[in-house]
Amino acid sequence: MTKKNAISLCDLEKDQNALIVAIIAGHKSAKRLADLGLTPNTPIKILRKTIFCGPMEVQVRGMNLVLGKGVAAKVLVKKS
């Protein structure tokens, strides 16, 4: 999968589904997210967002996670 057509997780709307393409972050953040199950090719769903694209709640591998704005921006996804 290429990173070309990928968008940031922040650009998704509530209830949209997507596939993680890559995580563009430093070693530590990327590892932390990967440990939680956010790895490339994993389906992700936006459950809800706060206003001003603040933190969002997502569902990954059956788990509900809250991601802050800064982290969410680093997760590249492809709409599915």
Partner: protein
């Protein structure tokens, strides 16, 4: 007779009911302290079971055995140190797949453990069937079904663990994909004869994950292994197109999914749950906020109204005690000092029981319910403006009750930087004692409008300090990454135990300091030192802040307990009608200074405990200087506008 002793450790992520298991096993026989030299909580307890004395250690709730956080590092080092005879890995059985990711890492550590599938009572409701026997066969460890809130399955978990002690069976090794396994094997070969505290395979895997701890171990003695690992990592990165540490994590996820698929069937499609429906409201991007305000207001009003009533009942006891005490022992310097420590203890109790205990209790209910995580979610944006993330809400909310537990709760933040920033802001939050002073001075004589104005001013100051501190304090800001727990019915027993232990911690930390500083101040008062000190301070108190010189005494007493400022003001001025002796500006400035200046002695002790004396001193000096600067400015501004 000496009973055989067993050490066990509970390991698992947060929100899996690990503390419920712990409380069920140990009840009141527990001890909560810190890991030596670390600000990470360590909970230990004892139980007697079938002729064994079992020491239980509740490890921090973590999701992975990397070294991202202090908690992860501590857990890993503890598990590897062989101090526990077996581990009970508690997981949420309704979220088997994601929970297994941690379990797989435990397998890699090659320590004996029992896998306790908690929340088994919820499986049926969620339409999930689990084959625990098959899971046990796949993993090679005993697997038990547990419902910790009903105490079910815990005895079986202990039995399984105890019987595994004699069998000496090792957990099974689960294999990853071919290209990863090949590289693990190559690393295992070079690691074979090197003394390591970790199992060879674990070390090999961690090298592929670019684990800093293992790299540090090998750096000086075996740089060639690190070179080898680097080459292998690059190969993996070439094949997969992303970092080898992510490759391994991904492999683990795949393996967990594969295992889960074999043992789990979901029999009915999940319909929109009650949880989802509740979250439509509580997590709503607009409606969520009024709901949050309402929930927190109800909590605060309950605590303050109930607390005021209960402490007024308690306060009636003090004069009776005082007359009886002096009646029996006479009035000398020694008895005055002794009575000062009695009244310090009494004051502590009349703060702890009416305010702090109910506050903790209600807060833990909200936490157990899962609501505090929603608050963190909603507040994350705002918290980021002051350089911290949403989780910092909890200490800040606690601060309104009492700054001491608030400081201690900064431990929930992930890094030292976040902890310090949160602690710094927390001590500026007006606690219940300060609220009493502001209400009794500004609220009563100038009106609520001014009292609210003071609060707004303090919030503004907190905001500005946060902004500045986030820039000055070195280090990267941490982003909010948190699991959103499902709503669940709070477990009252766990909450009651939790409240009790927190209350004990509060008394232990605050008690000695409050008693000693009480004796010092009372002693200084008895030998007539307070007035000279107060006169010495008068260039600040009278000339700059515009207050009567006697307030110097008040501010010294206030170090002990903030509400003393109000109590002693009445006795110094000889009237409760402060408006007759103080100008409006003086009332306002005295309230403001009480809100801002020095943290009380117990809070300083808590700051010292959490952050060391340098930072405690820094915060104290900062608060005093701010109180002087802002107080003086407000005094002039108020007089100018009048």
């Amino acid at each position: 007779m000496i009973t055989p002793k067993i050490n066990i450790a509970l390991a698992g992520s947060a929100n899996v009911g690990k503390s419920v298991v712990f409380n069920h096993l140990t009840g009141l026989h527990q001890h909560i302290g810190n890991w030596p030299g670390k600000t990470v909580e360590k909970a230990e307890g004892t139980l007697h079971y079938k002729g064994y004395t079992i020491d239980v250690l509740d490890l921090p709730g973590i999701r992975s055995l990397s070294t991202y956080s202090l908690e992860e590092l501590i857990t890993r080092e503890y598990l590897i140190s062989n101090q526990s005879d077996f581990i009970i890995n508690v997981i949420d059985s309704t979220k088997l797949e994601t929970n297994l990711i941690f379990t797989l890492q435990l397998l890699e550590l090659e320590k004996p453990f029992v896998l306790a599938l908690n929340m088994a009572d919820l499986l049926k409701k969620n339409g999930i069937t689990l084959d625990s026997k098959k899971l046990a066969a796949i993993l090679g460890v005993p697997v038990t079904l547990v419902s910790a809130i009903y105490g079910k399955g815990l005895a079986e978990s202990l039995d399984q663990g105890i019987s595994s002690l004699h069998k000496k069976t090792k957990p099974r090794i689960l294999k990853y994909g071919k290209e990863v396994e090949e590289r693990i094997e190559q690393l295992e070969q070079v690691l074979q004869n090197i003394p390591l505290i970790y199992p060879t395979r674990f070390a090999a895997i961690k090298l592929l994950e670019k684990d800093e701890e293992i790299e540090k171990h090998l750096k000086t003695a075996h740089p060639e292994i690190l070179e080898k690992a680097k080459i292998l990592n690059l190969e993996l990165e070439k094949i997969h197109g992303h970092s080898s540490s992510v490759v391994i994590a991904d492999e683990r996820c795949l393996l967990a999914a594969h295992v889960a698929k074999q043992v789990m069937t979901i029999t009915k499609p999940q319909k929109i749950s009650f949880n989802e429906r509740l979250d439509h409201l509580t997590g709503h991007k607009i409606l969520g906020y009024p709901v949050m305000l309402a929930v927190l207001s109800v909590m605060f009003i309950t605590v303050f109204k109930g607390g005021a009533y209960a402490s007024s009942l308690l306060e009636q006891l003090l004069p009776i005690m005082q007359t009886t005490f002096y009646g029996i022992f006479g009035n000398t310097l020694t008895t005055t000092l002794i009575f000062s420590s009695i009244s310090s203890i009494f004051a502590l109790i009349s703060l702890a029981i009416p305010y702090i205990a109910p506050f903790y209790f209600l807060l833990f209910i909200l936490e157990d319910l899962g609501y505090l995580a929603r608050v963190a979610y909603l507040m994350d944006n705002l918290m980021h403006k002051v350089g911290i993330h949403g989780k910092a809400c909890l200490p800040l909310i606690l601060g309104f009750g009492c700054n001491v537990p608030a400081c201690l709760s900064c431990r929930i933040m992930e890094t030292q930087r976040e902890r310090f920033l949160t602690g710094l802001l927390t001590v500026f939050v007006p606690c219940s004692a300060v609220t009493v002073v502001v209400a009794g001075l500004t609220g009563r004589f100038l009106g609520l409008k001014f009292a609210f104005g003071l609060y707004l001013l303090v919030f503004l100051i907190i905001f500005i300090i946060g902004k500045i501190a986030a820039r000055i304090v070195p280090g990267e800001p941490t982003e909010l990454i948190m699991e959103m727990p499902s709503y669940k019915l709070p477990n009252i027993k766990t909450i009651a135990l939790h409240t009790w232990f927190k209350l004990k911690e509060f008394i232990y930390i605050a008690g000695p300091v409050v008693i000693i500083s009480g004796i010092i101040i009372e002693g200084a008062n008895s030998v007539g030192l307070l007035t000279p000190i107060s006169n010495f301070l008068s260039p600040i108190t009278s000339a700059w802040l515009g207050l009567p010189p006697a307030t110097g005494i008040l501010l010294i007493l206030g170090i002990l307990r903030k509400e003393l400022i109000l109590v002693m003001l009445a006795s110094i001025l000889g009237t409760e009608n402060f408006a007759a002796v103080l100008t409006n500006a003086q009332i306002l400035v005295l309230s403001l200074v009480s809100m801002l200046y020095i943290p009380c002695s117990a809070t300083i002790a808590a700051l010292y405990k959490e952050f060391g004396w340098k930072k405690a001193l820094l915060i104290t000096v900062l608060k005093i200087s701010l109180a002087i600067i802002v107080g003086g400015l407000v005094f002039r501004a108020f007089n100018f506008l009048q």
